[in-house]
């Protein structure tokens, strides 16, 4: 993007080619520097530190009461993390969460976008605003709002359901994961819907007119014509949602204050936090972070590969 932007497209004055190229390089450097500075300071250095921390440890031999010395420990921390049933159950939880959340999110957002696009919904602008607004609420605030709505005794929702003789404990053993999925859906549905809606605006009108002439109804047009045409957006949203979901942290962290059903090691991110700040075990936290990073990269790669292949087929 920066390259095309910096190219003097409509400048008629001929400049010597070497100078142009040098200027281009200079502009390129100036425009890209902030990105690389940020990439290095907030991504590469922390990742490098985590990798380093995961291979070294301040060890004291035996019982651990002697003087410390930093030694290379190889894969010891990784073996400990992978042998920790609490970490594995956290991974299981997050997989279950993704299986619940991802389809609901993509199908929900796509459905809403198609509805708005087809003009069925009146007051389109208002509907868009109402759906998008929750995304403007920071995740932590959203979790607090929902915590209030979930907590028996203070929640008007639980109260109303109770009056209708329905007892639901949103923070109970079985309902707690759906409760977290609900918070995430509420926060992000509108945002992804806007992405789909924008993509739908780019669908050529001639194609839709052709479909109508061929006798396709609105449902058929939506599912068979529009959806395949915005496939790239669907893949992108699915990918971002997956990456976001794997890092599940804020909602369960806040809810854990109110329900014992969310343990301190509920998700991999919470495990990492607990390892670093409750257990003061930085090697363990670092190697769990690296494992989570590798899982995320592998899954993202898998998703893109799979979608590319099925597109080629």
């Amino acid at each position: 993007m920066t390259l095309t932007a910096s190219r003097p497209a409509v400048r008629p004055v001929p400049v010597p080619r070497v100078r142009t190229r040098r200027r281009e390089r200079f502009a390129c450097g100036v425009l890209m520097t902030p990105f690389f500075v940020l990439l290095v300071t907030v991504f590469l250095i922390p990742v490098g530190t985590a990798v380093w921390l995961s291979f070294f440890s301040a060890d004291e031999p035996g019982l651990g009461f002697g003087p410390e010395s930093t030694v290379f420990v190889g894969l010891r921390s990784y073996a400990a993390v992978l042998g920790d049933p609490t970490f594995l159950s956290g991974l299981g939880t997050v997989v279950l969460y993704c299986l619940l959340y991802l389809p609901l999110m993509v199908v929900g957002a796509l459905g809403l976008a198609l509805l708005l696009d087809s003009g069925v919904a009146r007051l389109r602008a208002w509907a868009q605003l109402a759906l998008f607004l929750p995304h403007a609420v920071p995740g932590i605030i959203a979790a607090i709002i929902w915590l209030y709505l979930y907590t028996p005794g203070i929640s008007p929702v639980v109260d109303l359901l109770g009056k209708a003789d329905i007892t639901v404990n949103f923070l109970g053993v079985h309902a707690v994961l759906p409760a977290i999925v609900n918070i995430a859906l509420w926060s992000n549905l509108g945002y992804n819907m806007v992405i789909f809606y924008a993509a739908l605006q780019a669908v050529p009108r001639e194609v839709l007119e052709a479909a109508v002439i061929d006798g396709a109804g609105p449902v058929r047009t939506a599912l068979r014509i529009k959806t395949p045409l915005i496939r790239a957006s669907v893949v992108m949203v699915a990918l971002f949602t997956l990456i976001w979901a794997l890092q599940l942290f804020t909602e369960p962290m806040l809810l854990s204050q109110s329900t014992p059903m969310i343990s301190a090691r509920f998700s991999p991110s919470m495990y990492i936090y607990d390892a670093a700040f409750t257990r003061n075990n930085y090697g363990l936290a670092a190697s769990a972070s690296v494992i989570l990073l590798l899982c995320t990269i592998a899954l993202s790669y898998g998703v893109t590969r799979w979608t590319n292949r099925s597109r080629a087929a």
């Binding site: 019982l63 420990v73 010891r76 014992p260 409750t278 257990r279 003061n280 363990l284």
Partner: protein
Amino acid sequence: MPARPSRRSVLAASLAFPLAGALNACSVDGSAPSAAGPARLTFWSALRGSQQVVDAFNRSQNRIQVVFQQIPSGDQGGYAKLSNAARAGNAPDVATIEYPQVPGYAIDGVARDITDLVSDRLRAKLLPQALRLTTFAGRVFTVPLDVEPIVLHYRTDLFDQYGLDVPRTWDEFAATARLVRDRAPGRRLALFPTDGALQFAVFAWQAGARWFDTTGGAWNVSLADAPTRRVADYWQGLIEENLVYANASLSRQNDAQIAQGLVLARLSGAWDAGAQMKARPAQKGKWAIAPLPQWDPARPVVGTHGGSTFAVTKDCRNPEAAMEFIEWQVAHPDALRARLSSGTSSQYPAAPALVDVGRAAFDRAYYVGQDIYRLFETEAAKIRDGWIWGPRMSATQRVLQDGFARAGGGQGSLLDAVRAAEAGTMPDLTALGLATTEHSS
């Protein structure tokens, strides 16, 4: 002793925490002894009555000036605060650490090895069982302030009303629990606290369990040993027979259970006598305290539930002055008087010579004149030797409580929770590079 914080105070503390951290980041300085003025020490504690103790110490001499900072109790952020400060190199000179966390802070190097600073005079003043809980591999890491033998707090009025005798053995306890359920539906004898991993540990300790053991220069871990299995099965039985409540103790639900007399007894450390006075003044005159039920009444033993110790941290630049302050706090009569003057503490001192001071200073009105300090004294003598806490007790405790919460909700058993806690503890210890062995009996 861990105060029982209300939900609101917990929330307030957690909200205030970042602010407090920022404030004292600016004020932690000047721990260096200066030739001109008195030595300055910073002291962190969550214990009730600490301000009064520090004031009394500062008045008593003019060589050492202690600056006290109230911090949240350990689980509510106090320990995280201490660990983070130590990592940043600005830990307070003197910190308060409860017994279960002592080995962890010793391993992390936050609590200094003070073996050579503990004088024989101080050593002689302290209860040996208490000092053994803070001594590892022959080195002393913290100085015990109090020991809190676990006791049975019970409602005298309700025991009379339902014609119950105070149970002396665990069999009698179960029988009494059955009577309560039959005679007073809706009430229960006691609560199995699903957030009470330490209470459960003390029950196991009493039964003869040794969760951690350091013979052979390694941490030998056996959470699910035979005595623990016995205790787990016993309480599992009580829960399944619906003889006790199984919910969290730090909850509004439990507040209501105690306030409305739905539970007739509480099983907790001596400190809880003072906490009860503060939390429920209206129940004055309705409670008495008895020894904990025993497995074998011929050889009575107990464990300690709660109790704090003082550490000189690695960042302290004047360890001698810090030690002088600690010694005064744990062994001087004025220190205990000052703490009890706050009116909310029933701390049982680790220095037996202070028991009479405590007895005289404690207001007995709430317990209708019962001499609870004499009871604590007999109970403290029964503390079973040989128990030590593990290197990552806060974490072990959490995993255990997660399992208890599930067991309380009908998923899995208490024994499953114990086994899960062991499985969740071992990776921690190996990742720290400690020598470990694991046993299941």
